[in-house]
């Protein structure tokens, strides 16, 4: 029963997690904050946190963050197609949102996929875990250092 009435959105939220039941508690967490220098669009700071110095090289960290920033920039870009989407939705009295997914939601799906892929390839082998920023309200990226207790 619960499986049959899932809407696409719920599938997405179910897929937001890390598969293994979310990040563990009571371990050291490093937070990458938002960068507001260009406005309120989602963009994260690329400054390398010193806590990760012995685990991760700067390049792969910066690659992850830049890639995430690019995905969010794509999601929030004011392009012609998003304007058309918005206008069309308005013309239908916003009833179209009942049956379709917005461009932003498609991008979030891509981001969730990217995060889990990065976790498998880069972060988990080094004892780290990246949390999808969507689950943290797009406020920050959380990187858990799995085998170090919270200070």
């Amino acid at each position: 029963m619960p499986m049959s009435n899932h809407t696409p959105l719920e599938d997405m939220s179910a897929g937001r997690g890390q598969g293994g039941g979310g990040p563990p508690q009571n371990c050291l967490k490093v937070y990458i904050q938002r960068d507001y220098s260009e406005g309120t669009m989602v963009k994260f700071q690329t400054r390398f946190p010193s806590e990760l110095g012995d685990r991760l090289d700067r390049q792969s960290f910066e690659y992850t963050i830049n890639q995430l920033n690019n995905y969010f920039a794509e999601a929030e870009r004011a392009s012609c197609s998003t304007y058309c989407e918005g206008c069309l939705a308005c013309l239908t009295g916003y009833l179209i949102y009942i049956c379709t997914e917005t461009h932003y939601e498609k991008c979030l799906r891509k981001i969730a996929k990217f995060v889990s892929e990065q976790n498998d390839r880069v972060y988990r082998p080094r004892g780290l875990l990246l949390t999808d920023p969507t689950t943290r309200g797009l406020r920050l990226i959380e990187i858990s250092v799995l085998d170090r207790p919270a200070s």
Binding site: G39, A78, Y83, A89, Y94, Y104, R139
Partner: protein
């Protein structure tokens, strides 16, 4: 089969949810039903009394146009009311602890005054300094343009205002629906009014007395009267929001005067797209941001444990914060104690401090600044203290604590005093908001929005007050 718990059931805000979390509304929805009844009732009378006559005598397009407009209005209204306005989820306990550690100022034990950590953070947005405030309820530094809605108890992204008429906050996610609702309602209202008047005029055409027309079609008279009285405020509101959309501002920012130049300092709206059409398109048809609170997600045991830890943390940290009397930003130097007592411990002391501070606004130092031109007299900051621990209240958003202006600068002070009863469900709502607003702003606010009491007026900036020499108004709004 075990029942599934969904995340909306553990949602920490005060919102109401229906249809298993699909519908999200403000806690008070009474006025929303009035709105629905008013629109549906007036339109119903129009369709029953005016439409048959006008379709026969003028054109059958009239009921079609009316019907389409009505459907559009209702769907935009329901969209606005039932969707998530852009609530920012609260911080996890780890994140809250991390922020806490970041803002903590080393407090040496022999210092006579307790210096609380700064509660604001300044960031540059396109070269424009923007102050981020710490939200004591959500345990986050609010993103730019976000504000905490005291009625729903959530931080809302790009907060516009809390609208009781639509029974929801208006924020980043539902502003476009709200705008569509207001504009289409203005059209519907004018259309119905015109039709009703036409109907009545046509009935009196053959030298029949007006009373005869009223007897023939009493519904038209009712419709005409209702539309006549509502059309002005709706048109005003539509115009006001069109202006806001073209300049990419929110009602909140417009009233606070966030982007007006102050103290000779150039100030502009850093979020604007720099041209009118760009702003309009971006605000009304731009990318639709997703809901961040995942209210239909299934609650896992871990999630439940985390929520429980959050509520435990709340109680603990309230006690800590309850002793914070004056908050000052770092940039302004030394903290100035108001009460003169540096005891931060017991509940009794807090009560007495609170009472002392409550009386202060009625004495001269706080009234003077509102008459303008008081040099450097705004070093009095009132914080609102209520013995949290003893009353066991909900977490309080200590927003009212305003930073001191830099000394030596001539300006009017802005003192906001509010009792904490505002946020506590059990106490009578006796919020006394003393905010000097310029007369024209206040007028505009009341005329156009009718929501003055529901606005977030927590941090009026000097710009909106210090303009010109108008005597500031003291607004006592009971929310």
């Amino acid at each position: 089969m075990p029942r599934i718990t969904r995340k909306w059931e553990l949602f920490p805000g005060r919102n109401r949810f229906c249809c298993d979390g699909r519908v999200m509304m403000a806690p008070e929805t009474g006025v929303f039903y009035v709105t629905v009844c008013l629109i549906a009732g007036t339109s119903g009378l129009f369709f029953a009394f005016d439409c048959p006559f006008l379709a026969e005598n003028i054109t059958p397009a009239i009921p079609v146009i009316g019907g389409l407009l009505f459907i559009f209005v209702m769907s935009a209204l329901f969209r606005t009311s039932f969707s998530d306005p852009g609530v920012i989820p609260r911080a996890t306990p780890e994140e809250a602890a991390y922020i806490e550690k970041q803002i903590e100022v080393p407090n040496n034990g022999n210092s006579p005054t307790y210096r609380p950590p700064p509660r604001t953070k300044e960031v540059l947005v396109r070269g424009q300094p923007v102050k981020l405030k710490y939200c004591f309820t959500c345990k986050i530094f609010r993103p730019p343009r976000a504000s905490h809605c005291s009625l729903c108890d959530n931080c809302v992204e790009r907060f516009d205002h809390h609208c009781p008429w639509v029974g929801n906050c208006v924020g980043r996610r539902n502003y476009r629906y709200f705008y569509a609702f207001i504009v289409s309602l203005a059209f519907l209202c004018v259309f119905i009014f015109a039709c009703a008047v036409t109907h009545l005029i046509m009935l009196t055409r053959d030298n029949k007395p007006f009373l005869e027309a009223v007897r023939l079609s009493p519904g038209s008279v009712v419709v005409g009267v209702v539309c006549f009285f509502s059309v002005w405020s709706i048109l005003g509101l539509a115009g006001f929001h069109t202006y806001l959309a073209t300049s990419n501002q929110t009602t909140n920012e417009d009233i606070k005067g966030s982007f007006t130049s102050k103290r000779g300092q150039e100030s502009f709206n850093p979020y604007s797209q720099r041209n009118i059409c760009g702003n309009c398109f971006y605000v009304l048809c731009g990318p639709a941001p997703p809901s961040l609170i995942d209210r239909r997600g299934v609650v896992t045991p871990e999630y439940r444990a985390e929520q429980e830890r959050v509520s435990e943390d709340c109680i603990v940290t309230d006690k800590t914060y309850g002793t914070v009397k004056i908050v000052q930003p770092q940039s302004n130097g030394v903290a100035v104690p108001i009460s003169g007592s540096d005891d931060t411990g017991s509940t009794n002391n807090l009560v007495s401090n609170h009472q002392r501070q409550q009386q202060q606004p009625h004495s001269s130092p706080h009234v003077e600044p509102m008459n303008g031109n008081v040099v450097n007299n705004s070093s009095q900051i009132v914080s609102n203290e209520v013995p949290l621990a003893s009353l066991n209240l909900a977490p309080i958003d200590i927003d009212e604590i305003e930073p001191l202006p830099a000394p030596g600068i001539r300006q009017t002070g802005c003192t906001v005093l509010s009792t904490a009863g505002l946020e506590s469900p059990g106490l009578p709502p006796v919020a006394t908001v003393m905010t000097p607003l310029s007369a024209s702003r206040l007028r505009l606010l009341q005329d156009t929005t009718m929501i003055e009491s529901a606005l977030d007026l927590d941090s009026l900036e000097e710009a909106s007050i210090g303009r010109g020499s108008q005597a500031g108004l003291i607004k006592l709004g009971a929310i």
